[in-house]
């Protein structure tokens, strides 16, 4: 039951983009077409879930026993970078079709602060392995939801001639994200 609350909370209440501000670069950079946005979102789910398992294992079985907790930033980013490289290679060999649709997004995800951010949140909250995975899945599903909504909106407003010239593109996308964020605040009452 608690896992369900973590899941719902990480998708809606603490949406990774609209309330925690993690992963804004791909959210704003890759949200001009909904097909691309969907690919990015799925790739983020894939990497985030894997990364949260790996970082949880590394933290609890390597860093804590050796009393090297303070090195977590360095350890986590190395794990994420290595993992992304490995996933890219493995996917290329095992499932070329999937690689074709997700592969191009993978290198970007190394420096996506959502991945490192969720790993750090899992650590700070003291989540167990199951809770970490659920939180990672929920957060990345929240990312997918937000980026698809955003792409849908941007496809319609980007050519709108009524928008002042200096606001076109990114500035108006940011204001749109603000309005989406207000809407998502409505979920705050969902979980106490």
């Amino acid at each position: 039951m608690e896992l369900l609350w973590i899941f719902l909370g990480s998708i809606f209440v603490n949406n990774i983009i609209l309330s925690l501000f993690l992963g804004n670069c791909p959210f704003l950079g890759v949200s001009t077409k909904s097909g691309t946005a969907k690919g990015m979102g799925v790739a983020v789910i894939f990497v985030l879930v894997l990364a949260s398992i790996m970082t949880w294992l590394a933290y609890n079985f390597v860093l804590v026993p050796l009393d090297l907790r303070y090195l977590y930033t360095l350890a986590f980013i190395l794990i994420i970078a290595a993992l992304v490289q490995f996933v890219e290679l493995a996917l290329k060999k095992i499932n070329p079709a999937l690689y074709k649709s997700l592969g191009i997004f993978l290198p970007l995800i190394t420096t996506n602060c959502a991945v490192l951010g969720v790993a750090v949140i899992n650590m700070n909250e003291g989540y167990g392995l199951a809770a970490s995975v659920v939180n990672a899945f929920g957060s990345s599903a929240g990312f997918l939801l937000a980026i698809i909504l955003m792409a849908g909106i941007r496809e319609r407003i980007d050519d709108n001639a009524d928008i002042p010239k200096c606001l076109r593109g990114l500035p108006i996308a940011l204001v749109t994200a603000g309005l989406m964020s207000i809407a998502f605040m409505g979920f705050a009452g969902l979980i106490k």
Partner: protein
């Protein structure tokens, strides 16, 4: 190549301001600009890491093989971030609490990796030092200004000094997440207007605006993703 330090710094602060022009490093900018103090703290922390990583990377650039430069950059940056993290939690525990996970996340701040890739890897240590100072200063100024505006609207204060009359009802929304998005959008729009005016006055062609994370170190792949991606 000899560069004028002042020009390099001005380039980082105005011409290529990381937040308002290159539009990179937006996550910390949105999340930590809830007050002027927080914005400034984040800006200075990131600037310190940027100056350190820029100098070290440009000093070792001749020994770093091209293929594995990104992992090496990331490890170096993570080292500087860990040091900064200790300094902040030791000397400014308050700031440490309000910045929270965004201190370790300086590692993945694209401003730092972007400068390493675009500048430090190609230029000498001294120029990279000035570039770090300039870009860091531009980042800090943008964050402080954004923080000040949000703090004034959402709390009626700037740097914790009350500036509004007693009857002023603060709009809490400005310091909540939506306020960050909207304020940054308006700031960016205003800065673009200023650039356009300036270009028109000097008779130059209108500046081309970054479409997304174009200034990011990964923009090569990102551009490819944006064009050829999707189903």
């Amino acid at each position: 190549m000899k560069m004028n330090p002042l020009k390099v710094i001005k380039n980082g602060v105005i011409t290529e301001n990381p937040i308002l022009v290159q539009c990179i490093g937006l996550c910390p900018a949105l999340a930590t600009s809830t007050s002027a103090v927080n914005g400034m703290g984040m800006g200075i922390a990131a600037a310190a890491v940027l100056v350190g990583s820029n100098v070290v990377i440009s000093a070792i650039r001749k020994f770093v093989p091209d293929e594995i430069r990104i992992p090496i950059f990331i490890v170096l940056i993570a080292g500087f971030v860990t040091v900064t993290q200790f300094l902040i939690s030791g000397f400014f525990p308050e700031l440490d609490k309000s910045l929270g996970i965004f201190i370790p996340l300086i590692v993945v701040n694209c401003v730092i990796l972007a400068r390493a890739e675009a500048f430090a890897f190609k230029n000498g240590a001294l120029d990279s030092l000035f570039d770090g100072i300039g870009t860091g200063l531009g980042f800090t100024i943008a964050l402080t200004a954004l923080g000040a505006a949000r703090e004034l609207l959402g709390n009626g204060t700037i740097f914790d000094i009350k500036l509004t009359p007693a009857g002023f009802q603060p709009g809490l929304l400005a310091i909540l997440p939506p306020g960050g998005f909207i304020a940054l959008g308006i700031f960016m729009g205003a800065f673009r207007k200023y650039q356009e005016r300036k270009a028109a006055r000097q008779g130059k062609p209108e500046p081309v605006h970054a479409a997304g994370c174009a200034g990011c170190a990964m923009s090569g792949q990102c551009g490819a993703a944006a064009k050829g991606g999707g189903n």
